[in-house]
């Protein structure tokens, strides 16, 4: 299997699994629970992920390294911070039609810029067209 096929297969699995993750919030909203239990839901959501990760990690007899502890701290803080600040912005009456497209489009630009300038990635014409099409799709989606 070449690198582009491996990348596409792994991204397809990540796409579906990662996309299923937030669907629980939709179920919560449909049952009228999301307003009251949003933060508690988030805690349990992370707990589910942690439990699975630990079981999988113990089953494969893995070991944690110091480097992984530091990187995971950054990822954990960024993940929780991103969700928390979005909620706080909405609670401070910034309209959802501003918050969602800005956070989605903005974070994509930030990571694309880091890829090019920080990690020296070369993005070709197809890549640039793909990024712009994707950002447009996500902005349309976040406008509800």
């Amino acid at each position: 299997m070449n690198r582009s096929s491996a990348w596409l297969r792994l991204m397809a699995v990540a796409f579906v699994a990662n996309g299923l993750g937030p669907f629980g919030l939709k179920i919560m909203a449909e049952k009228g629970l999301s307003e009251t239990y949003h933060y508690q839901y988030l805690i349990l959501w992370y707990a589910g992920g942690l439990a699975f990760g630990l079981i999988w990690f113990l089953a494969t007899r893995g070991r944690f390294r110091g480097q992984e502890l530091v990187m995971s701290f950054g990822i954990g803080m960024a993940s929780f911070g991103g969700q928390l600040f979005s909620l706080l912005a909405l609670e401070r009456n910034v309209p959802g039609y501003v918050v969602f497209p800005m956070t989605t489009g903005g974070n994509l630009f930030l990571v694309a810029a880091a890829g090019v300038f920080l990690f020296r990635e070369r993005v070709g014409a197809y890549g640039i067209a793909g990024i712009l099409t994707g950002i447009l799709s996500l902005i349309l989606l976040s406008l509800g």
Partner: protein
Amino acid sequence: MGYLYMFLSLTCFGLLGIFAKIADLRGCKPGAVYTLAYGWSLLFGVVFVAFFRGADFQVPFVVYEIALPFGVASVIGGMVFLAGIRYGKISTSWLVINLSAAIPAIGSIAVYHERVNQKKIAVIALAVVSVFLLWKDKQADEARNAAFNMPEGAR
């Protein structure tokens, strides 16, 4: 103040992708990184609710039933994503992960029979076109690298 929170939010989400790339460059194991990351997030969440939301941890059982499996799906997505960026660029892989926001939209149509309007069709069509273009970019990248690595006479 609300707009400051919004910019902090987009910065945090962006840092999430950047930390993932750094973790990959440093040879961190995807399973270890995401298991620990969910542990940290859980800790931050518990501290936040304990100090700023009246330490109210009581929830109906149905919340457990919804949250736990979707948390599992999410951590699997994170682990596989981190394994995948080893084979691709963060600038394009991160977009694919963000495009997965189309899945709840499709789920809402399939499960809750939400009306399909032209905008929703456009969102899904653009997402498919985008992923196709990113895959073409990856293929073009590989072709360029293969040509670059060929022996001088074979070019």
